[in-house]
Symmetry: D3
Subunit: 322 residues, 6 copies
């Protein structure tokens, strides 16, 4: 275990210093990413169908993550009695953001694909901060040429629309686009709910692709292990988390809130279980819209969840490697 | 089932266009309401004993309801596998608001009664958007001459005060007034809680009238079916929902919040059950106070609940009519 | 002068009723617009380079305009001793919004052009509510085939960028696009200021086109009449008002605020003078971003300015016609 | 001049301690008010025609006034080189609030009259914190039996409506009611502006009563002294300040904002001049609506203005008595 | 039981009158506190490691508590069928705040100890309103010379840091300081969670002192009675409640929120149980930070919890004394 | 003039990428600062006497400054026809923040002095982002051993208190501390106003030191050049800007707002004049408190002012060096 360094160097309280993800080092030389995790912001919000503002999601999550950065030598969790993310073992860098071009979805998505490919080429795990859910499509497309993945998807909405009025790359389409890539072997879609989630025909299309779709109430009935049992084991997982999969009580700051969503431990425990039955190779967390988050709780939720999830992933890898 | 019409006509995203309830047509000719449901705002907030602002409730709920308006051809719910509110079968109109006269509760209530009578005369079901809970009194009084109803009441407070300092028509009195009308056969009052809910004598008066009073914890102990079993079956229901019956975590934007309230599915499932054991003939949803709802979640809760409740009501009628 | 009708019909206080512009009637049959002024929202905000949210501009301005709607029989101004907008002489309708397609600037702009052409065809004056300033381009393009106009432009930014990274239709380009249409004979650009307003080359391009560019301090030095004297007289004016031309003290709710902007009367008096020296044939007011306007003052500014400007226009026409 | 007492007793920073007006002592025994100034809140907001919330005005102004309370021994102003409000010479007490009865304007106004009469009987000067402007009517009515007063009125609106839909005591009527009392000898109305300020007939009625009406632009043209010269000298003044007389840039937190209002020194200097040409015997400051004042600037404006105005009044009395 | 007095005297609605705790009388003569409960604010927030603002906690809780003040004759709870806090039997006074000295933690804490000792000397029970959690240290130190207490601690964080960079009296240290006083016999720490809660070594130190530490999930697994069984019975309890022990859904307004916290009844029922198995002799509630609580729910939670807890304490004493 | 580089590399819109000051490079190796300007945050807010929150000032100003970062090749101002801050001529780095120790003013100030000395040693000009005004004291103390400076001070408050209750390093003391350093030759204090600005004795002490004190109204009477003429010429200036020197209309987000403050151009033009009559060698901008700045205008003011001031300084140096 790494050394506590509180008295040497700076106290470095959460509110002090630049806002990078978890106060980890910046790496803007994308041809020399040397890390276990590379954090990339994709501040794109032209794909949303209701409230915009998710373009400031990456900044808000970085700011919120500074609250969880002040464990020196790693992040101790007394419930698990584990020091997660030991700083000498897991290296995280913050790459900044994909270059977004206003008015231009095609170029913005290209730039996103470009950035994610840089991460994958370096061997680091991509951790993508949206932006609206439209950014999932170019991210997952960038995985072309990698080993296939199973997508685990948390969301209030199915996001499986093919096309409406010519739109194929908005925030209602990304899982459909993912299903077409060829390197996605299946999907588990969790938290889907309410009458605005999608049309019947989209559900049929998702099921035809092989997706397993569960509402929040379904998940509660099954329990954490019941859900985990429905997800293929021993495969590579890509996890996409739309913050509106969570309940508006803890995630009000989002574009299209839907009541009746997940609470914190429900998602956390599925994520923790997931790391034990397969390898998580990438993730995105999207739809945090800071203009609608005056108390900051949505940003804190995103940051806290990501920090814990990263800890679980590398602890599980560590356990497997022993 | 009605036809999907996404590619003909407008895309009509939620943030586009005028704010009527669920983007349904306006009907300001109150002598020619030709609809199944008539939505009426009553922007009155002179009855509140703490934070005012509910006068903007109707506008906020209308705005929020646009988020749930973009299912064309009806609202598909995959958990129930039902398309609710098929647009060719259920006609909703938005009548605008009762005319409110500042400083004058008597006239404002008169105008409210006038508007509700217009709806009832047309045969449509009134859906009333408050305003503070004081508006329930004139609304229920307007049902005079109709078949009697059983009131199902969601609230943190009993609202059964007779008179204090001469006040008989404030937001603490409406259920007492309802009990005196002669056309209310009974009440079920759900969610009542905490030391500020009412005096012991008001509880006694309510019980003497025949009211069944359950706290949130009582409801949780009984379960949805247990609660439904306590409500008379086969009767006409009028449902009055004070948004502060819900927990402040999902309904902070209200005048007199009270912690320990209902969560979303708890109320939703009672409402759904209700539609199956009797006929809902009117409803009001009150006390949404937008100045205290910076994230909009309270407005979304009201709109989402009403949309689903309407769906259940007409689906149940449809089932019964088969 | 029209009749005061306070005691007949409804009191109709500002907070009561649907939010249309100044509570004027809705006209959604765009082939039968029969009015002097047709109000159209264009809730597009994909063109912004900083804070999004202007998509809710039309709704916020409509809501704010209800405050200025309660003069019956017209709007009396005691400073001028004139009843503006006598309801029996000036007819305003609210057409709703152009249909916006998320992710797709080309289609959204097409839909905007389509709607504006409908207005022009009807003979009504278009009053456009943005949306970000990108919407000015399709609006002005829709004037093709009309008599030429001189554009009077209030803004902190020059908005005369030709192209960057392929972007030609963002919120930094619209006046450049206007200059290329062939039916814009000149421009007066007022309020332009600060280091982020544009590059030197854009200023040169604007001046080459014949634009007169004045900063806020220039305008103050010249005075209202001095400014009016620089604007060609006896021509048709199209006025485009970016709310960020105003000072952040009264217009904080916008995407790219710039300190040192116009105060209320400075713009009002130029607009009033303008109506006396030529005919205003259209206008847009853009960049009101409600998520950054918690007190509502930006929306009120837009509504108050537009109401007064409309009054001046029709009063001047009335004076000229006598 | 009184003694500086910083090191004896408590530091008593502004954020420390109960919120009374300027941290002055509470006096709830209204039959034993022994003070030069008695501060009374009237948290009534049922008279407003647009945004409610002024019921929390008294609390917000008290809280804001604590910022201006930490001069010990009085309030030194270096521009005037005067210590205002020497604590051993001017005694201020905070009486709490008039008892407001929800739904009931008549009783609420009665209670307001009752409280103001108690102040007047004690010989203290009433300083009334609204509430909406409707509260001015009962306050001024309570002056019956006192020597007559000339009212100096700051406002965006004329507030001289006689009756509409039976309403005679709303926030649009109070100056009309004052004009009918018999003990008001005249009025000067300053800051009145914009098309929503009132109808032509109300202006005529006010002028017939003898009111002098000046817009903000009129005041600016005349200058402070020019305005003071229009106000009768050597009489008793009652000052009623609607915070919306100020510009929305510094007073956004109010029910019916109107752009183009007064700036701080414009009003301050008229008030200071007033104290030198007659005796101010009472005042109210109304329409501060805290739900629309997230930064607190409106409350600070009210508190800062009142503190300075009180200082001017007692300094002028002191000068006259020498 | 005391007499209902609604019609005699004032109606005294929650929004009317000065903000003292539960509208109870002020007692600023600290040498003559004659009460069962003495409420003291400690508006100190220099101990926080992230968001400041808790200095306005006392004012916000007092304001919120007025909502729960309008039961006359005591506070009736229909679930328990008990009138709590009968006004003739339980006397509460509000002492105002400890004197805080900016920049100076040592003096501020001294002043806090001074004030608490005054309460203890009077025989009243101290109810302390923070401020950040640093204020717990001087409060508990002031209990020196009293009978020993067992501390029951609700918090997301362990707060058991000894020293970092010389800091021994910040908001991460208070329970460690308490453990060193000699008059604290043990601790039960509830709600502790997440990776930022503390280091492993602090957990060890706490356990070595004899602390029982339970996370939210531990508490849920044990149930209310299971938790109560782990707390020593028949002893004197001091209860310290960091509002961030609660979930951010109901307590967003705090400096260092942590998702996955307690819901309302979970804490309420432990507190109620506690009063039945021992005597509560003091309490503090800390870390309410109003600048991050735009809806007020955090302040309401604090006020509602404290009012109920006080009721339970005195009802239990009453039961024991029979 | 430097080359426009819009089409090579990234578009890099303001909302994209990490938040450093004006998106300039980070330099955390404080022993190798190689720049013309070194930006340092000092997120300390324990010195404030009213609203805290200025600890987030540095982050808010950095975020706001990204809006003014997108001029490539420098910042063109068309009023002056100058490209300011040509990127090949003026190098700015962002050092991050001084290490702040909660509860400990002495250590925090030491760490601030340490950081500023590093900048001065490197030869760069320090640009300090507060934090509250207390941070000015250690900053100016760090100039010991440098050539003496004249301080130009913008503020509502005199900040010249010697000691109260032992406090010598709070936000009311820094200019007094500066006056004692020996390397401050004089002061010009601008904008000082209102009864809460300071005691008479503090004014005397400041004048005895040789300070020139002007209120906002004094400055307006003198005009820009009149003020500049009162400031010694040809000396080294250190500029300290308390954002509350500005009017609350454009700087609401601060701890102790005072109405009647400076408008934007008033300060800008004095600053521009200053650069022409002497050399500015350091500056701090303090008291931006983001929790009270929901629209962001205060942060934008700080960023816009600093960007322009930097431009003036280096342009003036450039002019002098020709």
């Amino acid at each position: 275990m790494s050394q506590n360094a509180y008295e040497t160097g700076r106290l470095n309280l959460p509110f002090v210093g630049h806002c990078t993800f978890a106060k980890q080092p910046i790496c803007t030389d994308w041809d020399n990413i040397n890390a276990d995790v590379a954090v990339l912001g994709v501040p794109y919000d032209m794909g949303t169908q209701y409230r915009s503002g998710a373009r400031f999601g990456p900044r808000a999550i970085r700011e919120a993550s500074t609250l969880f950065s002040f464990g020196h030598g790693g992040a101790y969790d007394f419930e698990d009695d584990v020091v997660y993310l030991p700083t000498d073992k897991v290296k995280i860098v913050d790459m900044g953001d994909a270059d977004i071009v206003h008015t231009d979805t095609v170029k913005s998505h290209e730039n996103t694909r470009f950035a994610v490919r840089k991460i994958l080429k370096s061997g680091a795990m991509p951790l993508i901060l949206g932006g609206d859910h439209a950014v999932h499509a170019p991210v997952i497309e960038a995985f072309a040429g990698q080993e296939p993945v199973h997508i685990v998807h948390f969301d209030a909405h199915l996001d499986f629309v093919d096309e409406r009025h010519g739109v194929r790359y908005g925030h209602g389409n990304p899982l459909r686009r993912a299903s077409e890539t060829g390197h996605v072997t299946g999907m588990t879609q969790l938290g889907i709910r309410n009458v605005s989630s999608s049309n019947r025909s989209d559900y049929e299309a998702a099921r035809n692709f092989g997706s397993k779709i569960l509402s929040v109430r379904h998940v509660r009935k099954l329990g954490t292990q019941g859900v985990l049992d429905l997800i293929p084991k021993g495969v590579r997982y890509y996890v996409t988390i739309d913050i509106d999969g969570f309940d508006p009580s803890i995630a009000p700051g989002t574009g299209t809130p839907s009541h009746g969503g997940f609470l914190y431990y429900e998602v956390l425990e599925i994520l923790q279980g997931l790391t034990k039955q397969g390898d998580v190779v990438g993730m995105d967390l999207v739809e945090v819209a800071p203009p609608y988050d005056p108390t900051g709780v949505t940003g804190f939720l995103a940051a806290q969840l990501l920090m814990n999830f990263l800890g679980f992933i590398f602890e599980a890898r560590h356990q497997r490697s022993r």
